[in-house]
Amino acid sequence: MAHLNLHPCAVQMTWRSDQQLNGINWANSLRDFLGDLGSNCIAGGGTLIGHIKGIATLAGSPCLQLSLVSPDQPVMIDGSIPDNTNELCITLNVLVFGISADDLSMAINATRKQVLTSWKGSIDVEILPAASDYPLALHGAGTGAIYDRKT
């Protein structure tokens, strides 16, 4: 099942716009990013998108969720970004089967460059690969850490 190996990857991004954008423009740009990322992951060797999901936060509060499960399906968006926003933090969990960790990083960076051709501003990206792979047959062998984050 080598083609189904999974290298879970989290991505922390800070998007800054040179101008204050309305919420719809923000959502469209993020939708484009996720769609391009899905296509680039498959072009980079991925066999199946498990889930690429994300959350946008504004001043620490989540405001928008993003989700993509297939390059053939639209990016789903839930929530809204207030108008006149010029900076957003985005966290993504990228779960794509069959693509190596290196190729996944390349796909993420290529997507950033692609979007920057039309984005007026900056996009900082930090890629956080998982501490371990997630071989599907074994269902992962993690650190066993338990996080008590009761709200």
Binding site: Q12, N93, L95, Y134, L136, H139, I146, Y147
Partner: protein
């Protein structure tokens, strides 16, 4: 304490379904805890659920059907003994085998083993692709279900929904099968199946 395991492959709509159910449970003044197991280093689902003021316990960096089974049981024990909750919803990662989770839960003693319900969510837009690539996992998720929820009914065509139903029935001929859109409040079909079980 009731326990609902909300299984289903990655991206099938588990978190969205849990939000609808959790809001409905809260409206009935029942005390709820949600245990989320995500693949990856950063939890997204827990942030979404916490934003809605639900009590969320997060298990990261492993899978509750194997490497984190002990942590899951420990968390459930704690919820049972210290927090007096009415319902715990467990959201396994989309790559988890719920059979292994249920086996582990049934082996332990205590009140919660008396009332476990396993629901599986199927994405009708890609169930056939998943069956082709990941049949053992998808099959095991469907086979164990007491309730089969077909999500994205607002996006799928009637033909796609019927195909998903047919696939589900191949692996599980008996479980109630409900197509829902999962957007907005808990839909009546799901409410009818889930809420009487809780009360």
């Amino acid at each position: 304490m009731h326990l609902l395991v909300m299984a289903g492959f990655l991206g099938s709509g588990k978190t969205t379904a849990i939000i609808g159910l959790a809001n409905a449970v809260r409206e009935r003044d029942l005390k709820l805890a949600i245990v989320v197991n995500e693949i990856g280093e950063i939890g997204i689902d827990d942030q979404v659920l916490k934003q809605l003021d639900h009590d969320v316990w997060e298990l990261l960096s492993g899978c509750i059907c194997c490497s984190l089974t002990g942590d899951l049981l420990q968390t459930l024990d704690k919820l049972d003994s210290e927090y007096d909750v009415d319902l715990v919803i467990v959201e396994p990662s989309g790559a988890a085998n719920p059979q292994q989770i249920i086996d582990a839960l049934r082996l332990r003693s205590g009140a919660i083993t008396e009332s476990i319900l396993t629901a599986v969510i199927i994405d009708p837009l890609r169930i056939n692709e998943l069956i082709e690539i990941l049949q053992p996992l998808i099959r095991s998720q469907i086979e164990i279900a007491d309730l089969i929820i077909i999500s994205k009914a607002d996006l799928a065509s009637p033909g796609e929904i019927n195909k998903a139903k047919k696939t589900a029935r191949e692996f599980n001929p008996d479980a109630p099968l409900i197509p829902v859109s999962l957007k907005g409040p808990l839909e009546s079909g799901l409410e009818k199946e889930l809420l009487p079980w809780l009360t």
